[in-house]
Amino acid sequence: MAFPHRPDAPELPDFSMLKRLARDQLIYLLEQLPGKKDLFIEPDLMSPLDRIASVSILKQHEVDKLYKVENKPVLSTNEQLCFLVRPRIKNMRYIANLVNADKSAGRTRKYKVIFSPQKFYACEMVLEEEGIYGDVSCDEWAFSLLPLDVDLLSMELPEFFRDYFLEGDQRWINTVAQALHLLSTLYGPFPNSYGIGRCAKMSYELWRTLEEEEESETKSRRPEIGHIFLLDRGKKRLRELPNRPPSALQGSVDFGPEVTSSEKSLKVLLNADDKVFSEIRNEHFSNVFGFLSQKARNLQAQYDRRRGMDIKQMKNFVSQELKGLKQEHRLLSLHIGACESIMKKKTKQDFQELIKTEHALLEGFNIRESTSYIEEHIDRQVSPIESLRLMCLLSITENGLIPKDYRSLKTQYLQSYGPEHLLTFSNLRGAGLLTEQAPGDTLTAVESKVSKLVTDKAAGKITDAFSSLAKRSNFRAISKKLNLIPRVDGEYDLKVPRDMAYVFSGAYVPLSCRIIEQVLERRSWQGLEEVVRLLNCSECAFTDTTKEDRASSESLRLILVVFLGGCTFSEISALRFLGREKGYRFIFLTTAVTNSARLMEAMSEVKT
């Protein structure tokens, strides 16, 4: 409604092909085990699978019963078992137990393991160790790109974040490279590439290797997508920790009874197919009310037209318009219900206080007050994830917590949520998300050299001065450099957003989005050296532009943004906004759609 795309905005490529491709591959794999079989599905694969195939398709290919892979005794009596799993050790152990139990019961069945998106050698090793290698056949289902929306592709690999950024395991880099290779095979080469972060660089290099190995066909195609931008959630990178005053609902949402105004709750997939949703999704939340009320009035008016119709008109109305109106009616009541429930949550408890604290942290004032707010949050045993998120936000914006605060917050956290969270804290420290300021540690080499040159007495003072300088965190420097916190005179009018900050109610522009904007403007990292240095990425910011005459001006305004480690809906909304402003279209490829709470959960050792 409020902001349509510019008329010259390029068309998006058709990604539904990816779904068809994945489905056909799966069918092909199922056919490899002819005859009736029971299918065991990894819970994490269920919802992606639901989006590309249906039970009836599975049935058609002789899948008899469906089971979830979980730690329960298997009741299946089928002679053929097929497992559709992520390549995880615990799945291998599950399968091994099952096969070995069959063996000792003298039972022979056929087993097939389909790894998605690929198998790992560690998994095969476990199968070998458990003595069932050869008893089970292994296949790969390279389903790594799920179109969640017309412009959003998800790899559905939330573990990417923890595996790479916490454990340093590069196992998914090949998966990313393969996915990029698939895209360039289908949609032509990308003439311009940019990236930042070590993981981004490695993925890019491996992908290039793949391309070179199978060069001929890709190269001859006309590029459809002009730019590719890879960025990873590196250590020093600010993740989207601020809470998002929900600009709208996104993705798949569980609507409880209070929303559907019926007894059942409903799982709804929200994307551009939902007409009401497609119009409100990028709106700031405060705009949604007006829009919905307008819609409701229109709908009422359209229904009212039926009064005073003659029979023929009525017949026409019923046959042509009624269905559409009903559909709209259904969607509308759903979204109104959802808004109501969000409103309730927003006005309840201390949402205001929470937002106030987050803004204070971002801007760096009232640190003491914010710290004691977090403390109280912990003491009252309010959501453990929320408490962690606030602590991380404090740590990132302040370059680590003051040791005294760190100790006391940690102690209280362990007391409130359980001592085993000691492990969570160690993880967060490892990932650089929650750290302690080490006095003196923050001095750079140059600074310490300088202080050595002056006399001892003065040195003390200078060191003090430097450390106070260094304490002014990287975040603040970057934020200032890139103007992440826009200065606003007067009220920020959310109905007429001025910049990408609208996704955080005008308070903050997501760092990743600002970087993308700046690089696209310059077509390189030139002039951003200082920012790159502050991000600690001097060695892993890259540009690679090829002269591509065949690229149409349309394709040059299509940009594929690859988020390694996940992206948030705030970032997506912000970039969609940027696209509308500049006449670009963005395509998002992410390892998973995430939010700060999910990141925190990934770091948490204690699964709830």
Binding site: D50, Q118, P245, K264, R297
Partner: protein, 495 residues
Amino acid sequence: MNRTKGDEEEYWNSSKFKAFTFDDEDDELSQLKESKRAVNSLRDFVADDDDDELERVSWSGEPVGSISWSIKETAGHSGSTQEGREQLKNQSRNSFSSYAQLPKPSSTYSLSSFFRGRTRPGSFQSLSDALSDTPSKSYAPELGRPKGEYRDYSNDWSVSDTVRRLRKGKVCSLERFRSLQDKLQLLEEAENMHDGNVITAVLIFLKRTLSKEILFRELEVRQVALRHLIHFLKEIGDQKLLIDLFRFLDRTEELALSHYREHLNIQDPEKRKEFLKTCISLPFSAEDSAHIQDHYTLLERQIIIEANDRHLESAGQTEIFRKHPRKASILNMPLVTTLFYSCFYHYTEAEGTFSSPINLKKTFKIPDKQYVLTALAARAKLRAWHDVDALFTTKNWLGYTKKRAPIGFHRVVEILHKNSAPVQILQEYVNLVEDVDTKLNLATKFKCHDVVIDTYRDLKDRQQLLAYRSKVDKGSAEEEKIDAILSSSQIRWKN
């Protein structure tokens, strides 16, 4: 439920307080409500045959027919599902036609490069109908079954070829790399490739063919590979080798944490306690050592309390357990929860017992603030208003009593309200809130009429008092009180 809803509306209509970003003049919530009314009013007209429009949803919320739904169904009946199978048969019959009509794969895009070298003629027979118009294009992934055909018996692959084949997921023997130099070259090549799966594959080989000492020594200078090995050992649960590795690397803290992590896998409380005891002496930082010690002490306490209380509860002699049966065991709960529990069930116990709140407070050095918050929540839940009162009453040296709250009285009020304290009690604490605006806000929100009225009187705010009069019930005592104040000649109103 209705009451809270009413309260909220009241709050929204009466409060000057505006929610963040909801700064529109016309109240958005009422706008929303209006839209809802409009839509609902259409429901009668629409509802007649709406069923076919709505997605059918199972009780658990998944759309009927979805895969997740279907799995729950299997789990549910697991045995005889004649009816379900019948239903599914119908479903598949219904959908067969729809599948046949699926858009054909577009043939303009070549995928053959994708699967090049992996397809053999004749492998698509079963799919021929689904892929009818793609005679030369294959959408098929590599098969597991004919793996043997790809197995490479030649031993001449170079290091880089070997690594490339590994990356493609092909079985490839590493046995011929016997010299340490070859092995390390292999590792290096894998690292340069960036594929973690290949790095791990090489590491599995190195782990098997090198002695621990040599492996550790070589990895110490190869950080990327080292992190892969650590993650691999964590995943397969080779705790022993992991500990050896940390010891070799002199990473004492990681060693300690890794050992401590094990306790999560021990279910039996006694065994877990004994295990935690062994953790105390591990080389943690001084700070963490104290946490581990606390963890052990806490579990030790919980075991004692649990045994004792289970006994008391089953004996049925103790009133508190009869009135409020325990919902869960206290074992492995956080300290604050334990404190809440002990404030709930053992509030009056002498300091000497393990289960007394004061004892917990002392043993674990629980800060005052935390203690008061928890005790307040527990006593309010029991509606023990007298205890609540005592919690905040302090005597000064002259013997005067005074109310003091380390957490701020606005918090106290909120907690009391959450536990549905009566208005008289709430009123008392609302009155203790220092900031006038907060006080008015809370009093309005929680309908402490007296406080609101008195505050406006003290502020000499006639207008607000008049406005408030319209909100109290007609003919109520509150109205009378407002009238009396308004007609009083003693007050010099400011407006």
